[in-house]
Amino acid sequence: MPARNPQITIEQPHTTAPWRGDLLFLLESLILKDFRIRYRNMSLGLLWSLLNPLIMMAVLTFVFTKVFINPNKQFPAFVLCGIVPFNFFTIAWGSGTSSIVDNAGLVKRIPMPREIVPIAAVLSNCIHLAIQIALLLVCALLFGGTVNIQWLWLPLVWFLEIVFVCGLALMTASINVYVRDTRYVVESINTVMFWLVPIFYGFEAIPRRFVEFYQFNPVAALVLCLRNILLHALPPPTATILKLTAVAFVTLALGALVFRKGKNAFYEQI
């Protein structure tokens, strides 16, 4: 055996046979798996998806119309336009972040495109999200909104939001493998975000010089779009859509890049 200096690592071309499976089928299987595991052992099943936003809506409505007097008659629908995107964002990003470490058994044992793990974790929250969006639409109609042509914007703005969260999740899932505190940092950011996203206050209340900053926050942008569409039958501002699109795809590209850098050493780190 030749003596080798452990400090020197010889980089040599390494051919990797591509994974030949069915990516969409795998994604669907993993999403369904997450979803089934989460709901199989809940006797009330999907009702839990509705209960949490309804309770939040009731509490926030009480505090911000009765404790702090607010004449806004639409307040419950107004606040729900903030709660639903915020809930999705925090849960999807959180579960995406810990997905690689949580699925160590898969990542260490089965050769597959590892990107699929955080993406499936984010997307498995979408079934939950769909129910909450339905609740939001019903609520908007109850509080004076009407079905209008602007509703056609809804799929686009939600799609952009999901792209954004996938990007963030790829990034933090990879970093979380190397520094295990990452998930706690994510949790803290989510707590702060509750105040920095206009959930219980409107965009009008934000001082003008900070508005620009808010528009680059995709969660805040989504809240603005939802209120325009659902409560005022207005199209989302073009500038907001453009910024949301840019931020979403830049985040996804960045996330994919960070993940690609990190994934080769997942095996050694988990």
Binding site: H14, T15, G21, F25, S29, I37, R109, P111, Y267, E268
Partner: protein, 249 residues
Amino acid sequence: MPMVTFEHVSKHFNRHGGQMLIRDRLRHLLRPEPRELFWALRDVSFSVDRGESLAIVGQNGAGKSTLLNLATQLCLPSEGTVRIDGSVAALLELGAGFHPDLTGAENLRINAALLGLTRQQVKQRFDSIVEFAGIGDFIDEPLRTYSSGMRMRLAFSVAVNVDPDILIIDEILGVGDQEFFGKCFERIMEFRRAGKALLCVSHGLNSLEVLCDRALWLEHGCVRRTGPVRQVLQAYGEFSSTPATAAAT
């Protein structure tokens, strides 16, 4: 061209690697200590051709599993080159990704998707997988109600129905009853006749001798001996039955 080629492959791990919190990272940044390396494999070279099968033997911690993980491309070599030409199905740990709350059928589909089967293929092969596993009506019961033998049968059935070019097996032939063992054995022999490559780790030397034509004996990460299966296994058998080494294992 060989289907599996290892050229001067070495693999090391950090002795204190693994879980790191921010304070560990910071401490390391401020006071860089020389990393202590653990060499799992050192300068291993071999190749496996179409239709060939290689047995890998060695004591616990000799580097057998690391070698299989490299061949499965779950990790990259620290030095040297690993070349794989063809699709790989690895039975490294039976039922990786199985979830106890899901039914056998649901786990079967997920596992098959992970191993690379398409939706169409799963639909076509579903019945034959269930039949091979021989678990009958239990397929619609949650996995937590399965015995470990049944779980193993299900996992093995999925894996052998993936139809890979290269099959990698890590110490799994020891589980299961005699009848199922016979079925698996027959299936693996079919693989070999179909011209596929096989990499096999086991402590069951008798079955290795029938399944494989060549063997590689690893000791502390290095190749101690390689050659025709009978000779290598005989030497290894004599080595591990001597009292000094028997005490070490």
